[in-house]
Symmetry: C2
Subunit: 242 residues, 2 copies
Amino acid sequence: MELPAGELQRVEHSNGFRALAFDVFGTLVDWRTGIAQAAAVHGLDGERFADAWRARYAPSMDRVRRGELPWMNLDLLQARSLDEVLLEFGANSLEPEVRRQLVLAWHRLPPWPDAREGLDRLASRFLLTTLSNGGFALLTNLVRNAQLHFDCILSAELCRHYKPDPETYLMVAEMLDLAPSQVMMVAAHKPDLRAAQAVGLGAAFIQRPLEFGPRTAVDRLPDPDATVDATDLLDLASRLGC
Amino acid sequence: MELPAGELQRVEHSNGFRALAFDVFGTLVDWRTGIAQAAAVHGLDGERFADAWRARYAPSMDRVRRGELPWMNLDLLQARSLDEVLLEFGANSLEPEVRRQLVLAWHRLPPWPDAREGLDRLASRFLLTTLSNGGFALLTNLVRNAQLHFDCILSAELCRHYKPDPETYLMVAEMLDLAPSQVMMVAAHKPDLRAAQAVGLGAAFIQRPLEFGPRTAVDRLPDPDATVDATDLLDLASRLGC
């Protein structure tokens, strides 16, 4: 594969990396399609519902990050925000068991089409871990259900800090007994990558133009601040010589 | 496969299990052969050296368990006991880099011949995790090097308690969002299984007659107190319907 000279120089920098740490929601799996389908089963307007639920995701974690809520894992935060969204959608009569199934829909999200093969190729040269705000059980179930190959699961839950707190990125290096500079964060979200780089990790940007549906602005290529940027995981594998 | 009636009844109990938590050293990998080979490279009497080093394993963790040493992961404990064993073997001149390589030999141990296929079969019905006193990096590296299939890695390091402390077994259930009764501990060591059962987990005993070499007593079949006992992981898979 032909890469321009500047790109080659950036990839040279990747030689010292031993592990790739993957963001999950949006980067590896299509949460919007998965949640919309799970919601539609219960008569809800799937995509609008998925967007409304997802809109509460970052604010709910930010309340934990600011200390306004005690530590709780993502399942618990999602259960709380689900109650609010159902009220908003006039669907407050939904049974507890249905609510539980909707929370568990985040454990069974469909992977993007390139994810499985991309990870398999990247595994040939790098140790692969998740680094997501999803809980440990959620991530373990999600990766198993989607048949994605990982060497281990790391979750915000293990250090009781949510991304982009620096503790999360540093945990990856510490748990794998690597220097931060030997770990590259892989994400479709530039703020996630900038926070990882601020504590010494490398950064791989993956463009996911459809994460929030066809009509919503998302982070786009290029990402000149990243160590490497790519259109998808197959492209990333090629750029990293896998 | 034909099982006697009592055995069938015990296996019936396994229907409620969702996850299997595996001991690693001795149960999945042949630490004695791996360490003996790594030591022999440096002119040491391999098997005798492996046995002497391993003899310090439990006592060093017990010092942490009793609070006589602060928490340190297994790599650090092994590095300390390695210095003592080298002195005992008159090999105190070994360079720091060689010592480091010997400690890292515990990250690259050979699996027992049935381990890979046994895990692959068990994965069809159960979520598979490690639960070992090895550190998180050690286990991640070991499982990757030995090409063993796991859904996630759990280590004593994550809860800063060594087995058989109850915190370790309960951590598995908590991190996977399961009840203790939905988790079965799999080990070649009956005390490990009894400690897991004491806090509500199931227990699968695997016989590993060669763990400590051909001439040393080890736990043998049967284990009437276990939920199920088996000659190896292929036998366990058959007994659990995989």
